[in-house]
Assembly symmetry: C2
Homo-oligomer: 232 residues x 2
């Protein structure tokens, strides 16, 4: 499952590697180049469960390309998406793994094909000590992660499930005509921390009100205005 | 409202100040002592809204004594408690304020009389650069904060409100006979992100089942076993 892209990155590579990741481009100091000498680039296909890798490998990870979904699950298999980590962002979860080796952490999966930059933990501390740019980058990543999960708590606590579902449909709608959400009811339930049955029941209510049309594996938005009445 | 305790701390003070805060006692290196020269100790009585102070003052804050409650509120005044910060812990919220000056942050209040150690932001970066002990302490604080709010998301998402309310009652019960929770229905609602009316309705259900007895401003647990059936 784990595919390593040959040898660690050469010293000449980082600038090319990061030029399309603005947050990292500013980090091209000597400390960062040294750290990259010991880094590995790992590739995983979409759908890969990344938990085993994070549990075993005491590594600090930055997402270079693709999307990692961080989520939680209960004993019955119910899931809720906590946040997503995109290209150029620190996978904060791996830092928490490094610190809380005995405590259970959130879970992660590759939502698209991903390229991850994996660094040994001693370089993490070294960069924090030596690179002001890295400290700023790291602090912003941690603060964004805390802000994201805090906002999710208020979203979950203060909004009814039908509001959160309508919000999610609007967010995941593509640009086709009519706008379509290509997610199963189970995938929507996993976003929201509820069950497929509850999502299906709410979607049928939306269909009855004329805002959406349910197809197999996709949802067409036939009246965005009607859908948005739920969001008011 | 803001009461400053005289001059900044003297160089000889930190060890005495922190000896009962084990997480900070290990930090008594020169860098930390220098930082304390520019620190202020601020005292606020229980119930003080700390938001104005955090919004105005670009400071990094450690709680020395007492408890700070960090919470969120919606437009209708509904609240949910996110986490509490106790003596010896970094008030992570102040770091997020420092970084996201334009974004709305969570809210904070002194839940007990508090003593706060307030440091200018340049010392924060300086300590992160120079003190390995501080880096470890800081990293653990950030990771704990993220873990706490993540656990709250799963608690809110996967558990029914009656489970969360029973859990809260058990957590806040004192050691008297019978165990008593000295919180109003509104305070319980503010913990859970719901309304007083919903809490009162659920509590009446608990009373009917014989697990609690409702008094004015307090709740007696008359049958802990019965209460715990809700938690199974």
């Amino acid at each position: 499952m784990l595919k390593e892209l040959g040898a660690p990155l050469a010293k000449t590579r980082p600038i090319g590697l990061f030029q399309h990741l603005p947050k990292l481009a500013g980090l091209c100091d000597d400390i960062w180049r040294d750290a990259l000498d010991t880094a590995q680039v790992l590739c995983y296909p979409a759908g890969t469960d990344l938990n085993e890798f994070f549990n075993q490998a005491d590594r600090f990870v930055i997402v270079l390309q693709g999307v990692v979904k961080v989520y939680e699950a209960d004993d019955t298999g119910r899931e809720i998406t906590l946040y997503r980590v995109y290209g150029g962002q620190i996978l904060v979860l791996t830092l928490i793994h490094m610190l809380h080796r005995t405590r259970r952490c959130a879970l992660a999966m590759a939502e698209e094909d991903v390229r991850l930059l994996s660094l040994p933990p001693e370089y993490f501390d070294h960069m924090l000590e030596k690179s002001e740019g890295f400290r700023r980058y790291f602090m912003t990543s941690m603060a964004n992660c805390i802000t994201d999960v805090t906002q999710l708590i208020t979203h979950v606590s203060f909004n009814h499930l039908n509001f959160r579902l309508a919000h999610l449909i609007r967010r995941f709608a593509d640009q086709s005509t009519p706008c379509t959400v290509r997610l199963t009811h189970q995938a929507l339930a996993n976003e929201l921390g509820t069950t497929r049955e509850v999502v299906s029941r709410l979607l049928k209510g939306f269909e009855r009100s004329g805002s959406i049309k349910l197809n197999r594996g996709s949802i067409e938005i036939v009246d965005m205005g009607e859908l948005e009445t739920i969001l008011q």
